[in-house]
């Protein structure tokens, strides 16, 4: 039979149940074989970078929550570290450990969501329920730590929102048990599951050289056998003092990516356990430069010398309940007037409120000399970088976020062409596209 080969177009998205977010794929198919594919993104473009330009340095943090909303804490940490690098300050040891703990909790939630959603899209709803159960315990832990389940806004320039809650280690141990249980249960259901393996093995394959050329990082790159991890190559926070392995794959297909993510969950839990063992005492945010009695500052303020408020920390009586907490010996106006006072001080005494007000008020807040810098952390999907430009005012002149999942998305043609239409779903799942981060 001499029939001319005919192709047809199929549109997937922008709202499709097996798409993790809003993205549109236009597939050109010949039978069930994919001949060509084009991706249309930007359906969740929310102008993060534009907003950041009109905010103060600290006020950008809530926006970073919503970049990769599956691992908000990593974004918070990444942004805060980038600003601190530009300002030339470093957070105390305890703060660094807290940041590692926060990042790793988020990494686990990220991977749990990714694996769970992929499994659900392939028909394994049970696994989704198990893993989301594990994630729920982590969300409750995050709630305990930061006060919010998802939009955490945990970091500040120069520190974190607050110290670990006193029962954090104990709570974490219980949560880790639940998460490990959920992971091992799902692992038993998936890892050697015939259907699951058939759909994942050999699909969405990319070679090492291609992955590098496309700028892919994170678990996606590691699945091709490249052990590149920002935490190891450019250790930030406390990662150089902690022991962890970098799981790598061999073939660079969807199955390898699944295995990499599964192994990383365990590594992240191990990292948190080590942190809780090693975490030193001390302050979680920057030290105040100098402490004066509150009445001295008050008097000076009455005389019109408001500059003192920005320069010194006030020592106040521990009569208010908020002040009796151990980590709050006094209202702090810490190093170079950069760090926001603790919430308890802001709400409990006038000096804290004043200090907070000064730092958040337009043109009064943190100022960073004109400069330019780039800093990256290992996000859930790879290298999450922030390129910051300061013009000397109280807010960024430009914030550029390097979204790690943009790069595998741009390689979608490489990943899908030649495969079957059924491969779209697992491949898309393993890219772990998070629209908030992809479109910013």
């Amino acid at each position: 039979m001499n029939r001319s080969r005919k192709t047809y177009m199929l549109n997937m998205g922008p709202q499709h149940p097996s798409m993790h977010g809003v993205v549109r794929l236009v597939l050109e198919l010949e039978g069930e074989r994919i001949v060509d594919v084009d991706a249309e993104i930007g359906y969740l473009h929310r102008a993060f970078e534009k907003h950041a330009e009109s905010e103060t340095w600290n006020n950008v943090v809530p926006w970073t929550d919503r970049l990769n909303y599956v691992s908000p804490l990593i974004n918070n940490v990444g942004y805060a570290l980038a600003v601190e690098k530009l300002a030339g300050i470093e957070v105390p040891e305890r703060g660094q450990y807290i940041r590692v703990i926060a990042s790793e909790i988020s990494r686990v939630t990220d991977h749990l969501t990714c694996i769970g959603a992929t499994a659900m899209e392939l028909g394994a709803l049970t696994v989704f329920l198990y893993l989301i159960k594990g994630r729920e315990y982590l969300y409750q832990l995050v709630d305990h730590l930061t006060g919010a389940r998802i939009t955490t806004s945990f970091t500040r320039v120069g520190g974190v929102k607050g110290d670990l809650p006193p029962d954090f280690a104990e709570k974490f141990r219980q949560v880790a048990k639940e998460v490990r249980l959920a992971v091992s249960e799902s692992g038993r259901l998936l890892t050697r599951n015939r259907i699951f393996m058939d759909r994942l093995e050999g699909t969405g394959r990319i070679s090492q050289a291609d992955a590098i050329a496309y700028g892919i990082t994170g678990p996606f790159l590691r699945s091709t056998g490249v052990a590149y991890d920002v935490r190891r190559s450019h250790p930030y926070a406390a990662y150089d003092r902690l022991d962890f392995e970098i799981p790598v794959g061999t073939t660079g297909d969807n199955y390898d990516r699944y295995l990499c993510r599964l192994a990383e969950i365990e590594q992240s839990l191990r990292l948190i356990e080590q942190c809780l063992e090693k975490i030193p005492d001390g302050r979680h945010s920057l030290e105040p430069k100098e402490i004066r009695y509150a009445f001295e500052i008050q008097d000076a303020g009455k005389l019109g010398d408001t500059a003192l408020l920005a320069k010194y920390a006030a020592k106040v009586d521990r009569t208010l309940e908020g002040m009796s907490k151990d980590d709050q010996p006094g209202t702090r106006v810490p190093d170079r007037g950069i760090t926001l006072p603790a919430k308890e001080s802001t709400y409990a005494n006038i000096e804290g409120l004043m200090n907070h007000f000064e730092l958040v008020m337009w043109t009064w807040g943190v100022k960073i000399p004109p400069s330019e810098g780039y800093f990256a952390v290992e996000g859930g999907n790879g290298e999450l970088g922030f390129h910051l430009v300061s013009d000397g005012s109280d807010g960024p002149y430009r914030v550029r976020c390097r979204p790690p999942c943009l790069f595998p998305m741009s390689a979608i043609k490489k990943l899908l062409v030649g495969g079957q239409i059924a491969d779209v779903v697992p491949t898309f799942g393993s890219i772990n596209m998070i629209a908030g981060e992809l479109d910013r």
Binding site: V22, Y43, A47, T113, A117, K133, G436
Partner: protein, 159 residues
């Protein structure tokens, strides 16, 4: 049942039928989750075992708008996706209800910028607003029970 535009006074039969329909509909919500952003994470949490939307008869997502009767708009709606949302709403069969899940869908939230729709009620009618960024599961469940009350009241589907 009186047809639209007719002025037949509501009799015992019609009110009883409306009540029965409302009762049936409120406990078998077929939702269409129009998930775009962060709120989707919280929606997953509500739908999964811990909070279990299924207890309220709303655990069954239909990913075809023609089979769904509640459109859950979960997450920021940008101007680029707005026509899609409108189209999905138009494709849904009556009776239909719309839930704005999360503050972005209610008012635009803190995304007051060139890319974001300032509340989906500028595009489609909304029956219930669930605020929060994202709303906590408890808020969602409360919202759902409120929606059920509304469905009970407007059971025949005439809005």
């Amino acid at each position: 049942m009186p047809l639209e535009g007719e002025t037949v006074p509501a009799g015992v039969m019609t009110t009883q039928l409306d009540a029965a329909l409302g009762w049936a509909r409120k406990y078998s919500i077929f939702q269409y989750p129009f998930v775009t952003a962060c709120c989707g994470m919280e929606f997953m949490s509500v739908a999964a075992s811990h909070y279990d939307l299924d207890r309220f008869g709303a655990g069954f997502p239909r990913f075809s708008p023609r089979q769904a009767d509640v459109l859950l708009v979960v997450g920021t709606v940008s101007h680029k996706i707005a026509p899609v949302l409108r189209r999905i709403y138009d494709q849904m069969a009556e009776p239909k209800w719309v839930v704005a899940f999360g503050v972005c869908t209610c008012t635009g939230g803190f995304y007051n910028n060139y890319a974001t729709v300032q509340g989906i009620d500028t595009i489609i009618p909304v029956d219930l607003y669930i605020p929060g960024c994202p709303p906590r599961p408890e808020t969602v469940i409360q919202g759902l029970t409120l929606l059920q009350e509304k469905i009970q009241k407007t059971g025949g589907g005439r809005r």
